[in-house]
Subunit: 304 residues, 2 copies
């Protein structure tokens, strides 16, 4: 059921490649290097934000916005705002006092390539950039849309979303006992909230009213969880070189994951079931949702 | 000229005390401690955000908003958003990889009282909280006002504002040669941008059109610079116990400051001239601007 047919594969590969190029170009424009001692900060932001990422979140925003005829440029700008939050969280997550990682997307992490202080500030500045982008009239001429975009992104990234999930993750590392229910909640916050915001913000741009976003929210919730289960599987079984980062860290830390709690086969079955369920939520839509369907399947089939 | 008369002193003392209580109450409501492993994160945010600060920024917002008849609750919520940015920047600034400070407002810094990872996440979460607050309809029922508030705050806090100024400050510490012009520019970004946003956001709440905010912007620019010069004077001459933090760090680091570049007397004269100039920018306003005038004078007279 969840296998990617060859046409879907091409649709998705084209869409990913396109959005990767567009997001890189947009960040390049958002981040001109000034001619003063701030230069290393903006260089660091560019180092983290340009190139390297899969850009799943901007693609989710662009694919959803595309279903409702949103101008491409607005969708890419909004996708960049979501990606800026994702990138800042990776930069801070990699810090020595957090996960202490040396490698990200196959190159040295930001604090290794620059220094820790610059990494803290570059993360903070990418965080602010996200909201700068959303508040520009170029992103949406309608202030109501801009205010809704900000609400969706801020809610997904703070203590009630991503940062809250990261805190629960730290508690899990320091031995807090986590069962499947708690891990699910943790991941819904840590990864799911921002993936959900990426979809929701595409719908906001498309002026889908709040009450019409239920199916899209359910889709996002399911792929968010499938995404994290797939990540746990890759961490347990994946290729470090392909991943471009250190793997098997959860296992070494004795941390509960979907794989440790459900076993490899159980986790794989669950991820596929979630993807089928996610695609089921799109049944009200026609071909215009094909990209979201392909993206859902890609999530469990990717090798990095 | 710039001396605080006794009536002004009382007006200001009352206003500061009131805004301190209101801001503490608002943060208390914004930050309920959840019954799960996120609890230490929210406890850390409360530790940093509630109590201790002078609340100059929220007072600037409330005083400006008050000139234009803005509902008090909206002004306090908006002031809290500005303060959340200020507080997050202090939390990150105090980290070992940044200024490595042990004391803030007379108590252990956040990473000392909790740990570094929690300090990074609490700073990030306060950063997101600022934009959550601004995007709530309770802060302003008008989405145009909300979008404008977000634009003002995001612009003032990112690489084009506060974070950019912090980066220049780091460059100054590592020996980049800074003359008076560069120090002025650095401080306009590091401190001035957010103080300016505090005033501007009060005017936005008051629906003062962009072209009508020139005098208020000029006032904010002058008090921002005066504020930093006064800070440099306090760092050079102040009482550590009263300040509740380590002083004389700039001197030890051999960093250029207004005091090292202008001398103690030169700096004091300059700060007073800036305050007089700031008050001059308010000449179009009557008694409704008295609090902004008193606040300007307080900036150079405070002892911590």
């Amino acid at each position: 059921m969840a296998d990617l047919a060859s046409a879907d594969r091409m649709l998705l590969a084209d869409a990913l490649q396109r959005v990767q190029r567009e997001v890189d170009e947009a960040f390049d424009q958002f981040l001109p290097v000034p001619d003063d001692t701030r230069a290393p900060l903006i260089e660091a932001m560019r180092y983290a934000a340009i190139g390297g990422g899969k850009r799943v979140r901007p693609l989710l925003t662009a694919a959803t916005a595309g279903m409702f005829g949103v101008v491409r440029d607005a969708a890419i700008r909004t996708g960049c705002a979501v990606e800026a939050i994702h990138v800042y969280s990776l930069v801070h997550d990699d810090l020595p006092c957090m996960d202490d990682d040396d490698l990200r997307h196959g190159k040295p992490t930001l604090h290794k390539a620059f220094d820790e202080a610059t990494a803290v500030l570059a993360g903070d500045s990418l965080h602010a950039l996200a909201f700068e982008i959303l508040s520009m009239p170029e992103t949406s001429g309608d202030p109501f849309v801009r205010a809704e975009l900000v609400a969706a992104l801020a809610g997904a990234s703070g203590w009630g979303g991503m940062a809250g999930g990261q805190m629960m993750d730290i508690a899990a590392e320091s031995g807090a006992k986590h069962d499947l229910h708690t891990i699910t909640r943790l991941q819904q916050l840590k990864t799911g909230a921002l993936l959900g915001a990426a979809v929701e913000m595409g719908a906001i741009l498309g002026r889908v009213p709040d009450e019409g976003r239920g199916h899209l929210r359910a889709y996002a919730r399911d792929i968010g969880l499938a995404f994290q289960i797939a990540d746990d599987l890759l961490d347990a079984e994946g290729d470090e070189e392909l991943a471009g980062k250190a793997l098997r860290k959860d296992e070494e830390a004795g941390k509960a994951t979907f794989v440790s709690l459900m076993g490899t086969e159980g986790a794989r079955t669950q991820a596929r079931a979630l993807v089928d369920q996610a695609i089921g939520h799109l049944s009200a839509y026609g071909r215009e949702a094909d990209l979201l369907r392909a993206l859902a399947r890609y999530i469990v089939e990717r090798d990095h």
